[in-house]
Amino acid sequence: MTIPFYVAPEQLMKDRAEFAQKGIARGRSLLALTCSGGILIVAENPSRSLHKISEIYDRIAFAGVGRYNEFDQLRVAGVRHADTKGYAFSRDDVDARALANLYAQFLGQVFTHEMKPLEVEILVAEVGWEDSEDQMYEIAYDGTISDRSGFAVLGGKNEEIVERMQGVWSASLSLDDAVPLAAEALGGTRNLAPADLEAAVLQRGAERRAFRRIPDDELAGLLGRKKSS
């Protein structure tokens, strides 16, 4: 018979946090920013079919970094929550804040009660009618939730990207200008091609479903625009 060793709770939490952080840092980064045209989300992602950025509801988008199967499970749960709520009440009653709180509770619970924490960082964004109404919530592996304004960076090499963004971001950016800017901030010294990126936007003022993926050819056009000017 084996007798389990006593492990101090501090040590247990520290080990779990380290484990999750390591997993997340291995993945590539993701950047979301508010601008006059809506909320732009750009991720480094060479895959065309395994998305990091997805639609949750009319004005709400989801983005995740880390282990794909884990954040995709969270994405589907978010869609299920939003659709059930919108069906039971009204489409107007579905909001990002409530969903972000549910994610935070779930991640927090897994972090404290399970053997293995989820190796993910997720973002819930909701575009408003005015840019002052935009919401972005970042939720970490342990359920820590933070409310971001302006821009949010998820995944590895986080600080460098934040630094690069601080100098260039402004609320009055147009969507077209924001795309090359985000690609540059993500890439740093590397020059990211459209095929390395996944981009989507929550369009401000959209009648109903505001989420739109930016296809490769359009992305290439927007990235090229910056270089020629």
């Binding site: 749960a77 619970q109 897994v110």
Partner: protein
Amino acid sequence: MSSDQGFFSDVRGPVVPGGGLGKLAWDHRDASLGALPVFTATDDPGPSFGALLSGVGRDWRSAWMPAASAAGSLQQGRDREFQAPHATTVLALRFKDGVVMAGDRRATEGSFIAHRLMEKVLPADRHSGVAIAGVAGPATEMVKLFQTQLEHYEKVEGAELSLEGKANQLGQMVRENLAMAMQGLVVVPLFAGYDLHRHVGRIFTYDVTGGHYEELDFHATGSGGRDARAAVKARWRWDLERSDAINLAVQALYDAADEDAATGGPDAVRGIYPTVAVVTAAGFEKLGDEEVEQSFAEVIASKRESGRMP
């Protein structure tokens, strides 16, 4: 349910990691609203919204189906004081670039007019629409569930259902309603859309048992459906232009309203005109009142000119 993979297959409640503690924290009645709806692999409802509702303990059936006994008394009260509102004539016809769908705005309770503003032609998703005839309450609820289901599937799976897949889903919903239909609460939708794979407009009709059939050219259903069909039949061609197809739909509704008391005609005094929508590769587009009004004006003018009475 007979099939495990069906739209409304029953699944057990959601589970949460953490075992006992998690279970306590979950309220099955409102599971998807009070906590994140996460399922184990074996209980996962997949992309089906109906199964999801069952899984989180919300009985979707109660959404539009009154208790059978209540429906029975509704039926018995048919010729007496109480009747449920009915929606009347809807039609769909193919044209060169897709499909035109149209429906009048009247809902009746026996010989009374219950509503003058009812919308019976509704978008199902970006590239399809659904038109309803039959008992108004269950029909609108069915459409709401259908719209949610299509969008839910698209978001969960990351791909749209094929047009035939959508038609099939609606058939399953109509079939689920069969018990109610036997009690007199009949809902018979008309489904039409643009097939993005085949690049044509397609029309599907239903019977109360959920059977669905593809129509080649056009179809109309509801109390004025026969008259509307006759009107379309007389002038339909496969290569109709958009404006001609709209005029033909309007003409058919005019004829249906002329013959059928339950079908509403254009109401110039209140400015209420039938709903007309066009579904093409560009998507579902509901026409503005001005355009429908204009089309009615053209139809009426041509009737006067040719000396034909309405």
